[in-house]
Symmetry: C2
Subunit: 321 residues, 2 copies
């Protein structure tokens, strides 16, 4: 099959072996896949991943042992736990120490014609959710995770630092609580998108600090993907406030822990989220995902697609096998 494979470099391989599903797996034909900033981090060496890249997808089940799944349009949880360790037993298989994750950790991903996933990872996509929306299930779930981790409501002032793909999803999700959400970013085009959703915007941290004093925001979501994001968050956050760390940042970061201690700030790491909720939200149109689509490439042009996705300021790039 055709697959975008990271080995020494990133290559499109036309004769990559089609995966063979195990007894509890489904073979899924990928309908549409998305490129995530984590994919770009992986290209730079993050997690030393080798194999088929990609973890955002919508597909159709083409083979499995349970007939009712055949032909179903599905999305799927990207994490596969061992089902045996204490974390899996507690139901948090996303944190299983020997987990695999498609396109990230020990398992081929979605930037290919086919992938396999355990049937228990799959969710059916409602007919009225188009592929272009369903492909956002995984990143929207990651954004929704924040709501399960912090208390936020109409009385709160929230700053989302970073106007990238993830930041714009997180900002929309947080705004559904009625909180006053300000997106702090660098790109007028993306900030205009946020403004169009009724969110406040600030081009750069200094602009945000002109809108309100330092140390007055109740909640900050760090979505920049670079270590400066947390430093900016520490300027914004009020004493006893919470900073949610959404973006994975490679290597060590410099942090003013004294500020964290003296002002009793909480830093909350946040990763994958609830897929079922994300699908429901997509079906209900509670967030705008299609405006985030920047470009669409056939899989045959996958290398170009990744190059495009890696350019500064680019939003979601989709890839169609």
């Amino acid at each position: 099959m055709l697959a975008l494979v990271l080995d020494e470099g990133l290559d499109l391989i036309s004769e990559y072996p089609r995966p063979t599903p195990g007894p509890e797996d489904a073979l899924i034909r990928v309908r549409l896949a998305g490129v995530c900033s984590t994919d770009l981090e992986i290209l730079r060496g993050y997690r030393q991943f080798r194999g088929v890249l990609g973890h955002e997808f919508v597909g159709t089940v083409v083979a499995c042992d349970q007939g009712e799944w055949i032909g179903r349009r599905v999305v799927g949880d990207i994490n596969i736990g061992c089902n045996e360790c204490s974390l899996c037993q507690q139901g948090v298989y996303t944190h299983c120490r020997s987990r695999t994750a498609i396109g990230i950790l020990g398992r081929d991903g979605a930037l290919a014609e086919f992938l396999t996933l355990p049937l228990s990872n799959l969710l059916r996509v409602p007919d009225d959710v188009p592929d272009e929306a369903a492909v956002f299930t995984e990143p929207l779930a990651a954004a929704l995770q924040v709501l399960g981790q912090v208390e936020v409501g109409p009385e709160n002032r929230v700053a989302v630092i970073g106007d990238g793909k993830l930041g714009l999803l997180v900002a929309q999700v947080l705004a559904t609580t009625g909180a006053e959400v300000t997106v702090i970013g660098r790109h007028p085009k993306k900030l205009a998108l946020a403004a169009g959703w009724g969110l406040c915007t600030a081009q750069g941290l200094d602009s945000a600090l002109r809108q309100s004093e330092p140390g007055t925001w109740d909640l900050v979501a760090e979505c920049t993907g670079n270590p400066e994001g947390l430093a900016a968050g520490l300027e914004l956050i009020r004493p006893l406030g919470t900073i949610v760390l959404k973006s994975t940042i490679h290597g060590l970061s410099s942090v003013d822990l004294n500020r964290v201690v003296v002002d009793e700030i909480r830093l909350v790491g946040s990763r994958c989220g609830p897929y079922g909720t994300a699908l429901r939200w997509l079906q209900a149109g509670r967030v705008d995902v299609t405006s985030l689509i920047e470009a669409r490439y056939p899989l045959a042009e996958g290398v170009r697609a990744l190059e495009h996705a890696g350019r500064r300021g680019v939003l979601k790039v989709l890839v169609q096998p």
Copy 2:
């Protein structure tokens, strides 16, 4: 009056002006004061404090406008808010942006014959709590703050990193929940103290990691006062676990934020705590504080007392005016 004053250097001054209480203040004769690691940080330049050092004390009210306080033995909340800002209005005057704090921030401290504090900051010391216990009210309150910030109970495995004054208080406080508490430290003498209280101990991180796999502790309290403490905490903590940061660390620290995000770890800054609860606990003998007393100096030997407190491995040094 006699006072230990930090200006260019630390000096004992015999003719330092006795403070004049305002209309809502009490003039307090210090009975006994304690030296805290924060005092040692301040000597190294932390917060650029100038004035009388010290914030741990028990004293006797000798002058104020409300007669019933005169002659009372008291301890006091070290933070004084403005009573006007939004944080003071919310009752969190300890985070008031224009707060003062005795011996730390814009206000003379307790390593002197007298100090002043607003009457509203004072708590009467029960007769059956001796000065040697009451002087621990402030640090014990700081340790107790953790219980208000995280959920911890008998089913949890807890690591306290750091066997100093604060670590040994935090460990005792956390152990009252029934959690299995391990103190990880460097000093056999201090670890023996913890073992005597029925706590688990480990000399060094490697020893702790031989007792249990990395990434399996539910809660870590970082009490080392140095940036390596958090790195050690990140080795110990399980996915979805919480690291409480108790010790103030000057300057920027290197932190593996990727681990925080991927394993959805919470970092919780923690500072001052509930004084009333601390006094009740001291009265009830719920924690052993007197074993933490290492030495006692007259105020006239205050400079020596601070030198002693600054030596490696030294626990609580008390100073008596």
